[in-house]
Symmetry: C2
Subunit: 135 residues, 2 copies
DNA sequence: TCGGATCGCGTAACATTATTACACATTTAT
DNA sequence: ATAAATGTGTAATAATGTTACGCGATCCGA
């Protein structure tokens, strides 16, 4: 849970985090860039640099299977453990959750193997309750 | 484990699967393309089409966090369930395993949520026993 | 056995995602 | 005050993935 404080955000980091928070869902780096052109952003690197830091601070997660980024759902987020994501392939809804049992099972494997874990990606693809119901 | 037979592979599928099997580790689509130029491959699409099918048949896995592909480690593979991957960031070693407990825990979550699961990605990043020992 | 439907294949062009290289500015610690 | 570290801006380029189009082979029903 590493509830460590993160540094205060720089201007660009605040802008990127703001656009992700406002989006209510995942955005690609280039989508963020487009949103922030009015705020003076001109190049992808400005976005990627801010995202790197935000991910490092635990304020933003990267969705590997989407090549996109999403604000952490912990509202007053100050860092936390591994998260999992369920991604609806119909409506795009992304649900963040913390599957403690699964995480512990994976950790047990790493202990047995002598694997030093630094980062865990868990992403579920499928159809959310609403879309599954509609069929 | 859905031990269903897959269709016999086409020429391109065999070539792509062969290059992945021979590699002993993950390859990007473009790395495969380069390996197969001598066999007549000219364009990325030839690789991606074959990979799509091979993934569908369960013979190949996609590593989302690497944008790469790896042959399934089940030697005489004829399809199986969800796999997890531990990726060493020092030496590039990728270990495939089947974390049944973790998978069941995730499935339990999907049942509670009414989420219809179609595909599960579990990828661990870190340092393998050997590289961790070396420090 | 003819004809359409499906599937695989080849090629070109293009779209999307991410990084490298370089220069300058700002902040931080001494 | 100054050196080091961090953040910023810009341009160019690399890496990854997709769309569009046409052709040939195979499968299958009429």
């Amino acid at each position: 849970m590493t509830a460590e404080a993160h540094p205060t955000l720089t201007k660009n980091q605040k802008l990127v985090f703001g656009s992700l928070s406002g989006a209510g869902g995942p955005l690609t780096a280039y989508a963020i860039l487009d949103l922030l052109r009015d705020s003076g952003f001109r190049a992808p690197l400005q976005v990627y640099r801010a995202l790197d830091k935000l991910v490092e601070y635990g304020l933003v997660h990267r969705l590997e299977s989407l090549n996109a980024f999403v604000a952490c759902s912990h509202k007053g987020c100050s860092g936390h453990g591994t998260a999992a994501f369920a991604i609806c392939e119909k409506c795009g809804l992304v649900s963040e959750f913390t599957p403690d049992k699964a995480i512990e099972a994976l950790r047990a494997w790493t202990r047995d193997e002598g694997f030093h874990l630094s980062r865990t990606t868990i992403e579920l693809r499928g159809t959310c309750r609403t879309c599954a119901g509609v069929s």
